[in-house]
Amino acid sequence: MVFPAGTSSEPRTRITLGEFIGLTIAGLALGAIYAIAASGLVVTYTTSRVFNLAHGAIGMVMAFVYWQLRVEQHWNAPLALFVALLLVAPAIGLIIEATLIRRLNPNDTGMALVVTLAVMVALMGIAFTLWPQTKGRLLPVFFGPNAHLSVAGQLITYEELISIALAVATAVGLRLFFFNTRIGIAMRGVVDDRQLMSMNGRSPAMLSALSWAIGAALGGLAGILTASTYQLDIINLTLLVLNSFAAAMLGRLRNLILTFVGAIVLGLLDAYVVGYLKLTGWLVHLRPVLPTLFLFVVLIALPAVHLRSGTAVISRAIRIPAGARSLGNGAALVVLAIVVAPFLHGTVLGNVNAGVALGIGALSIVLLCGYGGYVSLAQYAFFGFGAWLFSEVGHGGNPVGLLVAAAAGAVLGAIVALPALRLRGLELALSTLAFGQLAYYMFFLQPEVMGRSDLAIPRLHLPGISLESGDRNLIFLSIVFALASAGVLALRRSRFGRILVASKDSQVAVATLGLNLRLSKILLFALATALATFGGALYGSTQRLVTADNFQYVSSLFIVLIVYVYGVSTPGAALAGGLSLAIAPLLAVHIPVRFQAVTYFMTGFGAFVLLGRPTGIIPAVSEWLHDRLPRRVMGHTGGPPPVVVPREPSRPTVEVSRAAASDA
């Protein structure tokens, strides 16, 4: 859970035994909430091999639904809980499973991540629309404000005791359910082989749906407990998933007992840190990032992932434009900018500038996610780092500042890649999101960086060319984007690009060819991060004034999603994504306040396009045009013609989990 910064820094000098007991109970209660949330994650992951990034968002929506029934409709607590947890939450889980998850290929980790991320963002959009954050909402405390016990002089609320009791009941209940009932065993077996399960007379679809219903109910319970203890906040409740993920990772997302232990350790850690440490100075924001630090420790302590093979998902080959064509496309973009720029003014021009700058940074997503297959959710942290560096080094808009930002980004990327070598797929994605959170709280919010006031960043100054006017800056940014995207495409056509795509298909095959996977991964991260910090520096230079909120870690989710929607293997998607995000706030001005979560709807619901068009909008449109326009118009392309590869309904790759082995 992400706590309000103001609550995190109450120094304590001497702790009595009574206070220690109080802290312990508070820690256990918090750990219990984490345990319930993490159990829900484990349930859905164990039975579908899909990590539900929207778990926290479901909990958040349930907390608001409960508030609506309890406070607005004045229902009594048991009835409101019954409807929220046993009707609405399971229904949401069932709908998500039936409409989205069932259509996913279990081998396609990236797509599973993106789709659940889209659900999360879409649910946030719905929540912002139904429950605008213009007024504070509080849930009534269970059994009233005076319901508490006194132990060693410490008040222990019924709320805390209920949380602990519910967590224990959840852990015991799930253990018994999964290991001692036929349906529970079947739910664990369905992920191994759906067809075989069907041959055993069980409906795999029904089992998956049931697991998502249970998972959603547990997420809802955690959300309501969190909200009744703290407050109703859409973003904080949604990101509960990060904290519970840290706990679930201890059990490798499979072992419920270790997950429970992880959650309790996290809860106690939080309580003792608040109780025993003085959270002042640069530590003032330590509390919200404790789960993140815990997650990093767990990831480092866990054994590294093994090389994998045979999990490639082939849908449709994407054309890679030849060098001349990619330069031609770039030239067309620059001409377009020259033609359009004089007609743009004020905020519109400023936002378009920001969008192109973001597009340059978003090319890093094409490199990392599109070519390398590594879903990274920390891009805004790198943008912010680039912007801050340019403000520090690029005095007077000195272009050397840009180069320094890129070089420092490359070093940072290489450093980030070192722990990332151990990870892949889901773990890597969530670790990068955690890194973004860490960067936001521990770096951007520091008074010396952007925490105290707006950070002034000079507009880039090229010798002999003034970029002070917005239209000139737009043309310059378009030239930079054109060159950068041509460079990205050249890299894709190169030997290094082939290695990247090959290692995405089969790391074993690449390693057995004698190629250095580690080096290529480090190089990829270095290059991508350099692009991101370079783009971030240009973004800062375009904005002139930035705050830490410009680099909120949640924004990384939006940009990754939107680039996926447009086509993550296409540089044009980076530009389209950057522009969409920058222009969305302009649209919000023209619609009622209630419906202003445009960015959430655009990215969240937009990503569902991927279920029908996994390659994204731009490649789909490009193919459509290619099929209909004469070859002369479409021009020659350097890549092979697209092919639809027929696919035998495949069994998911099965690996016997260590956690499951130890669990058994």
Binding site: R182, G189, D192, M197, S198, M199, P646, E648, P649, V656
Partner: protein, 236 residues
Amino acid sequence: MSAYAIELIDVHAAYGGIEVLHGVDLVVPEGALVAMLGPNGAGKSTTLKAIDGRLTPTGGCVHIAGRHMNGASTKQLARAGVCSIPEGRGIFPNLTVEENLRMLTQLHADLPMSEVAERTYARFPILGQRHTQLAGTLSGGEQQMLAMSRALVSDPSVLLVDEPSMGLAPRIVAEVYDVLRQLAAEGITMLLVEQFAQMALSIADYAAVMIQGQIVTFAEPADLGDVAGAYLGASA
């Protein structure tokens, strides 16, 4: 009621746009063991998939015990008594041996777990010793035994077995074939797909040779003569 437990009439099946079965005609008489032989890629496993519901035929008829079953789901077919042991063992590797056996009671709710375990461990004592072990950590032979236990305890009306010898040591293959022989002796109708013909022909009542998505020969093993050798090479 048809005398055939399985009857395929001009069955076509395809993966995406590529047709693999080009009109398969095949009958498996009630209580008989038919070995389907053929080289790699002939369409043997695809034929089994078309029968057990994993693949919906694009044309023709699949009859089980005289009933038209095209388009029936694997679950419906399983409930109709079709037991399929697919290639690659057909077990749940992340469940223990005991839990795998327990899965058999999903289909037969009236079958007590104690009886399932008793019958399985009596035939395969090694599985009894390893009942708490994850199935994925068993040896290939033990995994195949576990897969075969489905046929042992579920009393299927039709048993489909795909490549039971794949990747196994000769001693284990012999043991697996002993079980198949025993099931055949009990009168269970069986369609056995095997690439290596000799062992399959030793227990089969009839043999069907499949080449390029069609059955080219159907005869008793003794009447196959040179056909098997001509189509299947030295392995026959």
